[in-house]
């Protein structure tokens, strides 16, 4: 699908609030909107039998955002209403001009479209009294199954056509970069309405130790055209620019693949080298032979792959590995040309139902059928090599004892819960998500599931370690 980007002139006179219709008829009355002495006046007049009720309120445009009421950073997005709500082009509704795809309830919906519209964003850091930046960006709806949720993930795209080609601001303290070309305001994916922090919690747990790429996280409150829109997660977007800003690689030379290793979808670059040099090589060579193992070690980053497999299998990310599986490399001999995997989208992790699933491929239990589970193909061939198995098990023990240590995980998750505690009631009121006590209980479940999982996996991994 071709996407046409509006020119910079599209922003001239851009102010959705002041573009409200002067009056609107509704079911039992009408609204009047007008400016008076610099203030925006919105009045509602309702006619009941024999009674006339007139409600008026007045506010400066900037006063719509209650900055002093939030302890989280605030993102504001101004976008013409028609781009969100009109039947033929509104991105936030099912509408009449949709693209048919979906998961639990597949229907043709506008929100499935890759349309991009101009928007103005403002960002106020936590505790700030005014925005620290205002940017002109492209606005999209993002996600796969989570587009079906009431609150949707929003993608923000910096382009020369709009204004700046990238944002330079330290959105994520401690992150490796302060420059961003694309950002996500994520609805927490399939975890929306549940803990709201499942994927960020997994990231926060491993990010200081694991040799994998991930999307940095910071929670925020979103105002959409001045209306409170709930807690969103600010996330980096996985794209070639992400690797450019983190590793200084050439973004034009990035191969970024997704999905099954046998038939990957190409997000950027090409998959030919991967299919030939990695999959083809593994299919035709026995990796238990040291020479062959060293060859494949030159093509994929073994340390990265081990950490990635430990994280995904330990947390029980059950909508992985064929979906939510991305890997990349820089297509240059003297660059980062080993394939590296990216840990993302752990929205279904730490599910108590799967706490006893060991899930480490052929290393434990019945052999896998690669026709049905192609995501384990590389791993199940690598474990034919004793050096790999020993490194994998040693590293797994490190993760069990350090990264996923139950007390450490509890500290991290409780800290994240505390961060959202003050904001949650308002978010709950907007989206009718779990009541506060149920939400807290769902977050606490991450801690209790990890505690149980850690115990189970320690027994198995130490047993395997002794065996090998």
């Amino acid at each position: 699908m071709t996407v046409s980007y509006p020119a910079r002139e599209a922003f001239n006179g851009f102010s959705p609030i002041s573009k409200m219709a002067p009056y609107t008829l509704v079911h039992s009355g009408f609204y009047l909107n007008f400016n008076y002495m610099g203030s925006f006046i919105r009045s509602a007049i309702f006619l009941f039998p024999g009674i006339m009720i007139i409600l008026c309120n007045s506010c400066e445009e900037d006063d719509l955002v209650r900055r002093d009421e939030h302890n989280l950073p605030i993102f504001e997005i101004d976008i013409p209403e028609k781009y969100l709500w009109s039947p033929d082009s509104g991105l936030y509704i099912i509408g009449t001009n949709g693209l048919a795809k979906g998961c639990s309830c597949p229907i043709a919906a506008n929100y499935n479209q890759q349309w991009e519209y101009p928007a103005i964003i403002r960002y106020t850091p936590a505790g700030g009294s005014s925005p620290v930046f205002e940017e002109r960006v492209g606005f999209r709806i993002k996600g796969k199954c989570s587009r079906e949720k009431a609150m949707k993930s929003i993608g923000l795209y910096w382009r020369n056509e709009y204004g700046n080609s990238s944002l330079v601001y330290p959105l994520f303290p401690g992150s490796g970069t302060t420059q961003f070309k694309r950002l996500l305001l994520r609805n927490s994916g399939n975890d929306f309405g549940l803990t709201q922090i499942k994927d960020p919690a997994v990231i926060q747990i491993f990010k200081d130790y694991a040799r994998v790429d991930y999307q940095a996280y910071a929670p925020c409150v979103l105002y959409l055209n001045g209306e409170y829109w709930g807690i969103h997660n600010i996330r980096e977007m996985i794209c070639p620019h992400h690797f450019k800003y983190h590793y200084n690689v050439d973004d034009d030379l990035v191969d970024l693949l997704e999905g099954s290793p046998f038939s990957p979808e190409v997000e950027d670059g090409s998959c030919d080298a991967f299919l030939q040099d990695v999959i083809g090589y593994i299919e035709n060579n026995d990796l238990s032979i040291t020479e062959n193992y060293l060859t494949i070690s030159d093509r994929i980053d073994i340390g990265n792959f081990i950490d990635y497999m430990i994280i995904e299998t330990y947390v029980g990310n059950k909508d992985w590995p064929v979906t939510n599986c991305k890997w990349w490399r820089e297509n240059r001999e003297d660059g980062m040309n080993k394939w590296r995997w990216i840990a993302f989208d752990h929205d279904v992790a730490f599910n108590p139902r799967y706490v006893k699933d060991v899930w480490i491929g052929d290393l434990y239990g019945e052999p896998y059928d690669h026709g049905k589970c192609p995501g384990f193909f590389i791993f199940n061939n690598l474990i034919l090599n004793d050096d790999f198995v020993q490194e994998f098990l040693s590293r797994y023990i490190f993760f069990l004892e350090t990264v996923f240590d139950p007390d450490r995980v509890e500290t991290i998750v409780m800290g994240m819960k505390k961060e959202l505690l003050k904001e949650y009631p308002r978010h709950q009121d907007k989206w009718h998500t779990l009541p506060q006590w149920q939400w807290e209980s769902a977050v606490d479940k991450i801690v209790s599931v990890n505690r149980e999982r850690n115990k189970i996996m320690k027994e198995i991994i130490y047993e395997l370690y002794e065996k090998y």
Binding site: I94, F192, T433
Partner: protein, 180 residues
Amino acid sequence: MSYMRSIRLILIILVLFITNCVKAGEPLWWLTYSQSRYIFSPGIEACYLFHPHIGVNAGISAYIQNPDHSKVSNITHNPSFNFYNANIGLSGYLFRFENQSVGLIAGFKLYYGPDFRKLHYYEEGGYYIYFDASSLKVDYGFDMGIFYSYKKIVLLAKWDFARNRVRLGIGYRFKLKNIP
């Protein structure tokens, strides 16, 4: 899904309970109806008075949804599964006078079906946009109502605090002479 297991269990209990009511021979039966934004919900409700003033009741309802795609941000329920809500509780007569009687009905109510709520007022279109909040949780709460019978015809009006909805019913009193 644990929700689905709970719902199946409740359905089994309801079916057993309603079957028992029929066998006991003194049931009040209602066909019920409730309507909310984009939802039309027919159902049945039964009540068994095992004492001059006290009885038990249970109900179940399905739904048909007809959302206007131009005005909704999401639809989360699979249309092939049309369970909407169920309730179980106690009932009893307040007073009786010749062929007429008035009673109260109250209990626990559980919703699983869609729940369209206002999301945003679209000024240019002049209408509200709605979202379906139901995928996020099962709603449950207290419900109560009143029924009025004249000879064998019984009318019912209920209110629930799970979603703040009204449900109306018209029913039949099968064996009037057996009820003291």
